[in-house]
């Protein structure tokens, strides 16, 4: 999350909105966002509606949800879909920025 905050301007420069979705409740989101001064949108999904819609995986052995990222282009098409296999399996921001650049170029 800290890395996302650090690179927020780069995403903004590329006209890319960041939506962070998680299972915590709204109060937990508010507290975390305020404590960390996060500039992007945080969406609470305690009923797991969107998390299920998008198929975010749960690893019962590791006691948590696996990270996932989906890049949706300006037309609403999923242009990159990544489901993490473990807690650390998250694409680097630099990779996402390069992908956004390649989409806008092509």
């Amino acid at each position: 999350m800290a890395q996302l905050r650090q690179d927020f301007a780069e995403f903004e420069k590329r006209k890319t909105t960041l939506l962070v979705i998680g299972p915590e409740n709204a109060a937990a989101f508010l507290k975390y966002w305020q404590e960390n001064s996060l500039p992007f949108i945080g969406l609470s999904d305690p009923e797991h509606v969107v998390l299920k819609l998008y198929g975010q995986q749960i690893n019962l052995f590791k006691f948590g949800r696996m990270p996932a990222q989906v890049l949706v282009d300006i037309k609403g098409i999923a242009r990159f879909v990544h489901y993490g296999h473990d807690m650390t399996d998250i694409p680097k921001n630099s990779e996402m920025l390069a992908l956004i650049d390649s989409l806008s170029a092509g």
Binding site: M1, L4, F11, R14, K15, T16, T17, L18, L19, V20, I21, G22, P23, E24, A26, A27, A28, F29, L30, Y32, W33, I41, G42, L43, S44, D45, V49, V50, L51, K52, L53, Y54, G55, Q56, Q57, G64, R65, M66, P67, A68, Q69, V70, L71, V72, D73, I74, K75, G76, I77, A78, R79, F80, V81, Y83, G84, M87, M96, I100, L103
Partner: protein, 43 residues
């Protein structure tokens, strides 16, 4: 559990952010790309 298909329309959804504002994926169509980040949990 379904997965989102590459190069297919991303399913639309609406959620309320912690300020009480409803945010839908379709709000951004025709305006910006959107990077959806499904958090592993920050608590």
């Amino acid at each position: 559990m379904s997965h989102v298909a590459f190069n297919a329309p991303a399913p639309d959804f609406s959620l309320v952010d912690f300020t009480g504002k409803t945010v839908s994926l379709s709000d951004f169509r025709g305006k910006t790309d959107v990077l959806l980040i499904f958090n592993r949990g920050f608590m």
